[in-house]
Each structure stands twice: as C-alpha cells, then as structure tokens.
Subunit: 302 residues, 2 copies
C-alpha cells in the first residue's frame, strides 16, 4: 500500500518536474546578440537538472491556498535562478573549487572563470527582472507582488541565504558551535525553502498569520532536510548518493551527527518533520501532494 502510494507519488512528481522545467525554459532569455555567451551560460546552469524543489514547494503552496493564476510562474523561475546562481558562485575556484556538479562540468569550467562570475551575477539580476514581470501580468495584485518581492529578496540576501553562506565559508576548516551550525543551516538551506512557501502563500492571497505559519513549517523542513544530509553522509554509500560519502569527516566539518551523534541527529529529523507535517495538516485546505513531498524529502535515501 505504502509502496503503491510512493509509485504514484514518483510518477506525479516527475510530471510536475517536467512542467516546472517548461516554465523555467520559457522564462530564460533567448540566446542572441553580442552577449549570447552569457545567455548560453545561464541556460547551461539552470537546465542542469535537480529536484526543482523550491519552485515545486512554491507552486504547491500557491495551489493549497487557492491560487489559480499564472502570476506564480515568474516567481517560480526567479526562485530557481537564485538557487542556481548560488551554486554557480559556490563552485568557483575561490569558493568550493568544484569542477563537476551532478555529473556535468560546472559553469566556470565550461565558460571560463570570468563568465562563471558574470553568469551568476546575470542569473541573480535576471531573477528579479523575471519576478518583476508579475506586475504586468496582474496589475491588480501589485501590493501582493511587492510583498512577495520583499520576501524573495530578504530570504536570498545577507539575512538569508547569502548570510548563511558567508558564515559557512568563513568557518570552513574549524569546528563551530551548535548555535552557529543551526544558524548556517537555517540561513543557507532554510531561507530559500521558507521564501518558496511564503511567496506561494502571499501570491494566493493568504493572510499574514498563514504566511508566518508556512514560514515556520518550512523552517522545520529545511532543518530536517539538512540534518538528513549529514546523516546520509555517514550512513549511505557513494553509489546511492551519487557523490563521495564521509566528506564531512574528511573535512573535519561540524555536523549534526558530530554534534549530537547519529541517533541524536535521527531523533532531530523525526521531531522537526513530525512538527512540520502536523502543522501543515492543521492548516485548512491542506495539500496531500505537498504533505507527501515533505515526508519524502525529509526521509529521502539520497
């Protein structure tokens, strides 16, 4: 029974990923002009696969709160562009210096380091250029769109994703306190997940209390997701994971597993995910697909 539900869920998810990728493609700039190389690099970076988790959470939350329009689409594309630019800059030689991501050469390896920097800049800028298109699609929702832009920009910046990245980079190579580890996880991973559900809720017309409830649910999801990452690095195999295991140990990295032990970390995942699902269930008009998605994400094996 559970097996069957998972099969259906997987089919449904694949269908949704395909739909999201069509939206992304439609909002990417057409490669042309003297500056065509940058459009090529943007497309190469965005269309590199991935779970499309953030736009999916955004869309599902939008549906859950009764959203029916297309105004969500530029924001879905914008969110994935922001996530992608952060990976492109993360992979640069001065940062993680990664030559491969998801089995493909990273952007700066294919297009050169200068274009890698510029492609990241271009994606971040184009994310806002894209989100702003929502004003023309639904001028009557200008205030909601303004609110959504505020959330998108705040959660992506120094009080959100960039802030987490800064501390992570700064503390690389030395042990960090539990408090700092939580800070990094909440900002680096959590902030964009929070923004995704908040933007979905705001654009569908959810009230402030509902938006704030979704933010807190997403915060638990982001944390559980990231702790599960730490656990998989210890318990999984390189074959299943598709990337080297025990990398945290090799890098002497503080993780939830080194901090609380394997059982402690597993307990945290259970606790945060249970709270997230319970609270999501408590919201009127809950979305069954979204509930299963969160469960699958948190309990994933890779």
């Amino acid at each position: 029974m559970r097996m069957e539900r998972r099969m259906n869920f997987k089919d449904e998810m694949e269908k949704k990923v395909t739909e999201i990728e069509a939206v992304l493609k439609a909002y990417l700039p057409k490669p042309e002009g003297y500056q065509q190389i940058i459009m090529d690099a943007m497309e190469y970076s965005v269309m590199a696969g991935g779970k499309r988790l953030r736009p999916m959470l955004m869309k599902e939350t939008y549906l859950m709160f009764g959203g029916t329009g297309k105004v969500i689409e530029p924001f879905m594309a914008a969110m994935e562009m922001i996530h992608t630019y952060s990976l492109v800059h993360d992979d640069l030689p001065a940062m993680d210096n990664d030559e491969y991501r998801r089995g493909r050469k990273t952007t700066h390896i294919v297009y050169g380091e200068d274009m890698g920097i510029l492609a990241g800049d271009a994606l971040l800028n184009f994310a806002f250029e894209t989100a702003v298109k929502a004003f023309e699609m639904e001028p009557e929702s200008s205030l909601r769109i303004g609110k959504a832009l505020r959330v998108l920009s705040e959660k992506s910046g120094i009080y959100g994703m960039i802030g987490g990245q800064v501390v992570d980079v700064k503390e690389t190579g030395h042990p960090v306190s539990g408090e700092m580890l939580e800070f990094i996880y909440e900002l680096k991973t959590g902030a964009l997940i929070e923004a995704s559900v908040m933007v979905g809720a705001i654009l569908a017309g959810a009230d402030d209390a509902q938006v704030s409830e979704m933010e807190q649910i997403a915060s638990r999801v982001g944390l559980a997701f990231q702790i599960q990452d730490d656990i998989l690095d210890v318990t999984s195999s390189a074959e299943v994971l598709g990337k080297p295991i025990h990398s945290d140990e090799k890098n002497a990295k503080t993780t939830y597993v080194t901090w609380k032990g394997l059982e402690g970390a597993k307990h945290e995942v259970e606790e945060h995910s249970k709270e997230a699902i319970d609270r999501l269930h408590g919201l009127s008009g809950s979305n069954p697909y979204l509930e299963t998605l969160l469960e699958e994400l948190i309990h994933r094996e890779k």
Copy 2:
C-alpha cells in the same frame, strides 16, 4: 562669469554628494551578527568615495518632474549598490585583477577573494531588497514602483550593464568593430545612467513619453561621457587623472580615439552633448543644476 558659476556649481555639488552619502549610509545594513564581515565588506565598498553620479542624476530628475517624497531614496541607494557591486566583481582576479581603486585597496584584497565574490552578490541582492522598501513607504505608488523596478533590473542585467560587461570581457585583447564598441559603451556605461534618470522620472509621475525622452538624453550623455574617457586617456596626464594614462594604447584597446581619431572623437562628444542638453532644455520644467551637471560631466578634465 563662467568661472563663478563653476565655483557655485562645485559647492552645490559637494553639498549634494554629502546628502547622497547620508542616504547611502542610512540604507546600508548595520554590521552585526555572525555574518558581520559581509556587512563590513559592503560598507567598505560603497563608502569608498566616487562621484555618486547615478543617484545624483536620479534625484535631480525626480525633482525636475516635480517629485517631493522620500520614495526616491531607496532607489538612489539601490542604484549605487548595483554600480558598486559591478566594480567589486570587475576588480576580481579572474576579471581585471585590480588591487587598488581610487587609491584604496579593492574589496577582495581586504576581505579575501571569496568574500569579494560574496560582497558583490550581497550588494546586488541588497539593492533589490532596498528598492523594494519603497512599497511600504508609498503603497499608493505601487504601480510606479513596479515600473521603476522593471527599469532598474532590466538596465542592470544582460540587456544592460552586465551585457556590456560580458562583451567587453569577451573581446579583451582583440580589436572590435565600431558597431560593437558602441554596443559595449551603451550597455556598460549608458544603461545605468539611463536607468537613473528613468527611475527618477517614473517615481515623480512623468508620463511614458517623458520617460522615453529622458532615456534618450541619458543615452547621449553616457556615450559622450565614455568617449571623453577615451580622449582623456590620450590627452591628460597621470597627475590630473589620478590613474595611468595611455592604458588603452598599451592594452591595444579599440576606443573612439583609435576608431575615429582624436578630432573625430572630440566632435562626437560635442555632438552628443549638444543634443542631450538641447533636448533636456526642451522639456518643460527643466532643472538648471542638472543641465550644468551634464555639461560638467561631459567636458570634465579628469
């Protein structure tokens, strides 16, 4: 007489620069928290001096079209943050590899290359985070603010400043056609100058025809400004300019001077600037300070 007007103009300009810097400072994030280093790097980069040309053009255009509110201020700050991030990333080792700018160490030299990349990202993101604050200041102007955001983001991106930068970087080291040179100048320098006056006009309530007229005036100003740069590289001295001269020749760079000769380039400056001033004069409610500012900018000696 002309000397006297210039003295008054200089005093007035200094006062305006001080006012603009107070606005910038007020909108910069307070350095605090685990991620404080990034706020420090942002402030170091933005408060490094400079003409503050773009926010000044924005404010003067806003005044010229009858704007009286504070809603222009987050956009002034946002514009300078975008201009600044572009310099920070430009100076990186993989780009121009500059260790000094305006006599001070560049951001990545002081804070490290990783933080240089992140500080640029943070400034670009924070620019939008800042501009979006306008919605709360004047909710009744949401549609205008949405339009201003569209212009700001488009002119900063792949169809504006980044687009120009991409072609400039790509073509470094080989001669370019006149058409391509114009493209680079219009996008790399012109686009933000255009955005500055357009945002000022839009937020003051100018109509589409007026906004478009200001865009075209600014386009001439940007081009004349950049050609004057080419001229000064040949005719000025390192003492007056505060940077090495004949750098274009050394880098075998195509410029307006190599393309059209020194006299030809001077003629272009005259033509573009005359057209810009005439057209500005033709707009009702013109701003005398703005006219003098454009003249001074174009005919500057450093």
